[in-house]
Amino acid sequence: MAILAQLTANGIIAGSIYALVACGFSLIFTTTRFIHFAHGVAVAAGAYLLLALFSSLHLPFIVAVVGTLILSAALGVLMHRGIYVPLQNRKASSVVLLISSLGILIFGENLIQLLFGANVRTIGYLPASRGMDIIGAIITPLQLTIIIISIILLALLFVLMYKTNVGRNLRAVADNKELAAIIGINHRKVTTIAFALGTMLAGVAGILIGLEQNLEPTMGTRLMLKGFTGAVVGGVSSVPASILGSYILGLVENFGIWYLPSGYKDAIAFVLLFLFLLVKPAGLFGKDKGVKG
């Protein structure tokens, strides 16, 4: 029983992080219709920016966090305006955009390695603390914070998407780019907002992971693959579906290692990704549209 509770808790913690990665990714995908793998860079950048601002420059923690979030959003806009928009102006296909995003991902990962070294780093804001016992599962206060912050942010994202003008525009572009343009929605502006917002969410994921685990340059790629898998499992073409898929992935991974050695965690995700792409590319809850092929 205790192990069941623990695995569920671990699955939800992992799922919360994946969901933050996936919802930003999916937000960008639904408005721009291409696979932005470089989203992973933003996750790693979030963690390393916090390391630089807080641990190296010794800024107050809150200032460092706010700075990280602003810089994350700026990074998203930079990638969009600096690389994707020029490519789209050249009428590049979505595969070209996908390949260029892989290029950005590898570039960013290695830039981080160059600047911060290949060794693992720690932010060390919070001392390691004893876990609390919640129905048999041991959860540290930080892990509980991660879950709560993710849920709050995801709820805020829903409010934004469904109760505000910005959200309405985002959904309109996601729904039908041409029609949205006809009624006067500025496509460039909306996709820029999607990039700023989505990348900021990736920055939050990076910060939370940076507080809980060690930092390494390859963390962005690893989390991107997890977030992307979560999005595919749920359905890339819908933000809520991606979030659900991420929690499912977190749970499946953690229950999987009940039977398999823990090294198989990543393998479970990769196999799920491959199978879903082959058999159910629209995902479990996704709408069929938006899936080409």
Binding site: F34, I35, I83, P86, L87, R90, A92, S93, S94, V95, V96, L98, I99, S100, L102, G103, I104, L105, I106, F107, E109, N110, L111, Q113, L114, G117, A118, P217, T221, L225, P261, G263, Y264, D266, A267, F270, V271, L273, F274, L277, L278, P281, V291, K292, G293
Partner: protein, 290 residues
């Protein structure tokens, strides 16, 4: 000293020429957006290494590497037969991640992250290829055969069918051609060559581990064939030479090893992004990537 280094570089170029030309057959000529080519390279490398370790003579292991990779090529085309565009690209990349995690986790066979050390240098019919200059001749001959074969292939009737699949699959179907069969054959040839390249790599480096067959190498391969220009054998060859030589310029500024690795990857990915932005058809490309 410098001589030994140039020979080393030339061997790597020969191996990557085989790999790049083979990817171009599938991705450039047939229009199969295969982002998981590195998996065939890995399958070939492990097959050849493990077989020779258990006493199988090198020529048989070398051929087996190509054959097994080819079988996986056929399976991949079959599994992804309904996918196009982005989804084909993602699924093939997903395939390479699955292969990577199998190599990493099937420890009883592959020793996982520890890799396989002490892979023997090849010996062909009693003739040992132990010195690097001998290996260069061997790898060079293989590369030349692959290049000549590929040039013949793409201008053969079957080569024209491959390109027709890329340009107008529906039209070809209307003419009564089995496009799946053409794609499967093209991918099997492509994968077999990549498997052979894997064998060449494993027996030259003499140590392999799963990390050589992951995202970094996918980027390197894509950079090579996009810089060279897709659907051009000459482009793939020139792309390999250019891309593998560019980072070597760094040797002259004597950067420490810990910096050299990331800088090299940054150069590859930066070149990839810049070429997509400013010269999407590369040096000799005839078609756009779509």
């Amino acid at each position: 000293m410098i001589e030994a280094y140039l020979i080393h570089l030339a061997i790597l170029i020969a191996i990557y020429i085989v790999l790049a030309v083979s990817l171009d057959l599938a991705l450039g000529y047939t229009g199969l957006l295969n982002l998981g080519h590195v998996a065939f390279f890995g399958i070939g490398a492990y097959t050849s290494a493990l077989l020779t370790k258990s006493g199988v003579p090198f020529p048989i292991a070398f051929i087996a590497a190509g054959l097994l990779a080819s079988v996986f090529g056929a399976l991949l085309v079959w599994a992804t037969r309904k996918l196009k565009g982005d989804y084909l690209a993602l699924a093939t990349m997903g395939f390479s991640f699955v292969v990577y995690s199998v190599l990493l986790n099937w420890t009883s066979l592959t020793r996982g992250p520890l890799g396989i050390p002490g892979i023997t240098k090849p010996s062909i019919f009693g003739m040992a290829i132990s010195a690097n200059w001998q290996y260069l001749i061997f790898a060079g001959i293989v590369a030349v055969i692959v290049v000549l074969f590929s040039r013949r292939l793409v201008s053969s009737p079957f080569g024209r069918l491959m390109q027709a699949v890329r340009d107008d699959e529906l039209g070809l179907k209307v003419l009564g051609k089995d496009t799946f069969k053409i794609k499967a054959k093209a991918m099997m040839i492509s994968a077999a060559m990549a498997g052979i390249a894997g064998s060449l790599f494993a027996h030259y480096i003499t140590y392999i581990d799963p990390s050589s067959f992951y995202l970094n190498d996918i980027i390197l391969l894509l950079t090579i064939i996009i810089v060279g220009g897709i659907a051009s054998v000459k482009g793939a060859v020139m792309g390999t030479i250019v891309i593998l030589l560019i980072p070597e310029a760094l040797r002259f500024v004597a950067l420490p090893g810990s910096i050299l690795g990331p800088v090299r990857q940054m150069i590859y990915s930066l070149v990839l992004i810049l070429i997509l932005l400013y010269r999407p058809r590369g040096l000799f490309g005839k078609v756009d990537l779509s």
